[in-house]
Amino acid sequence: MNEHTSTSRRDFLLAGFATAAAVGCSDSTNPFTPEMAVAPSGEKVKLLSVTGEIIEVDKAFLKPVPDVPQLSNAEERKGIPGKKFVMVIDLARCKNLRKCQSACNHMHRVHSGQNWIKVLSMQDGEHTAPYWQPTTCMHCDEPPCVKVCPVDATFKRQDGLVLIDSDRCIGCRFCMAACPYSTRVFNWGDPGVTADVADQHYSCETSMPQKKGTVGKCDFCPDMTRRNELPHCVSACPNGVFFFGDMNEDSVSNGAETFRFSDLIKDKAGYRLMEDLGTKPSVYYLPPVNRNFPYESGL
């Protein structure tokens, strides 16, 4: 109707919703991608608003998951400005379902038989309690793997992530020897990805496609966080074991629940693995107390 007159107001509203975050997180996919993360098509579509007005929106938003712009290798190496990603794993909730693992393997096309996420059966001492401990890459702040890489193929970004450039990796496997958490896997043979994936341009942020003779590992799914969504393991876990967030926002979320990170760690006495090694991991664990499931249920 009187669309011309109200254009400026609509633009304002659009900007408002476009920067909106996290609608409908009960669904693993967040339907709103922040405006700056979307690759705009430049083409506008007209649509009807709630109040019956006609507004315009970029066609890119018509896709359930709008495409994000393809990043250059240099941008992928720099990371997302202003972020510092952190994960919290609540050991009291894990019963070794390994939905995290299967979702991760599926989404990253990990070579069958290998896993980026492992769920370990832990028992620290003879008379101490057994528990299930999922391990991802710790994305250390003093990463031993990055220290030893001879060609900058694995690197640490300003948002804290440790990623791999499989187009540069020479396959010396020094990083695997250096990692005390045994988090890295190697593509000993053909990674066995389907042709459509194998032909893609390699992205450090999706870690796909995996390549023969190079190293792979958990990447904290930066392609998801760019769209304001949670990593696959977080949304796949039915027990809400994994929390993911931004240390600079002081919050972590498993999709259903969101906590203030500093409070959560303080209240539940969170800790990191192998603190004595000085690797400064970005993954925190909440101790397996007041458990939701007995250890045996995971056997």
Binding site: A22, L48, V65
Partner: protein
């Protein structure tokens, strides 16, 4: 505990459909029937933008498989009002905006039924949404910060309070809303409002201390998904510290090698190779001495 309330309309339609080409390939070990499932989600963002998200899945035993590249027709109220022809993506999802052509139909009623058809087959016919709006107001009461959220519904062309709507009220964060108060969720009272006293102080905001308040209803049976947002300067001004990333350390890139390491490496390499180059010249000298 994480409880995912999918108050979603689930429609279990047509049994045993091995018809689709894509599915026949993995039409698995026969006998067990597969069920087509269509999930519908209505979204209202800041009382402006609205759309429908459709999810198409095939349920077999306990596993759900997304149905990619399926085409559906979405109608508003009756088969006369086509909203969109949808084609699902690889995750079995499709999104539809309501086109301006349906303005009259949309404004004509306070409740709308969305109908999904695959060809002539009606898969969804009872997904009903009541028009609603959601607003955020902030206040300072006796030094305490308060967020008031009101939800109104359309009833006989009038906005009336919507009671009993479960909302998350808090601050927008990566992956979720961090509740501003002590409760995980709040429910609107008879006036259609919730009042949340902010207990989480000094949360980091942007460099000016701006932080986004959000109120959200997830898959409400009557209203669908509602979201309202408001920027406010309640946050702690936070400078992003890039010093950590910019330092010279053993884990940085080759462009940020520690100076001491560079000095050691270069002095050794230059010292040793300098001597070696000198020695090569000595060999050349021996050669020259032999020639003359």
């Amino acid at each position: 505990m994480k409880k995912l309330h999918h108050n979603i309309l689930k429609l279990l339609v047509t049994l045993c459909c091995f018809a689709t080409a894509g599915q026949t390939a993995n039409a698995q070990s026969d006998s067990v029937p597969a069920t087509k499932i269509i999930r519908m989600h209505y979204y209202n963002v800041n009382n402006s933008m609205q759309y429908i998200l459709l999810e198409s899945q095939l349920k077999k035993e306990k596993t759900f498989t997304p149905q990619a590249n399926k085409t559906y027709n979405l109608y508003l109220d009756s088969a006369a009002n086509l909203v969109a022809m949808l084609k699902t993506d690889k995750d079995g999802k499709a999104k539809a905006f309501i086109p301006p052509t349906l303005k009259a139909a949309w404004e004509g009623s306070s409740q709308h039924t969305f109908i999904v058809k695959e060809g002539d087959e009606e898969l969804v016919s009872d997904y009903v949404i009541t028009k609603s709006k959601i607003d955020i107001d902030t206040a300072n009461e006796d030094g305490a910060r308060v967020i008031n959220v009101s939800v109104m519904k359309m009833d006989n062309n009038e906005w009336k309070p919507a009671a009993g709507v479960e909302l998350k009220v808090g601050f927008e964060r990566l992956g979720g809303i961090l509740s501003a108060g002590d409760e995980e969720t709040y429910t609107t009272d008879s006036t259609g409002t919730v009042k949340v006293t902010v207990t989480k102080d000094s949360l980091p905001g942007n460099e000016k201390g701006i932080i986004t308040i959000a109120a959200r209803a997830d898959d409400n049976e009557t209203f669908g998904n509602l979201l309202a947002e408001k920027n406010i300067s309640w946050g702690l001004p936070t400078e992003i510290n890039t010093h950590f990333f910019d330092q010279r350390a053993l884990w940085t890139t080759r462009f940020r090698t520690p100076i001491w390491l560079l000095a050691m490496a270069y002095s050794i390499v230059i010292g040793v190779w300098g001597t070696l180059i000198y020695l090569i010249f000595q060999v050349i000298k021996i050669r020259k001495l032999g020639r003359t």
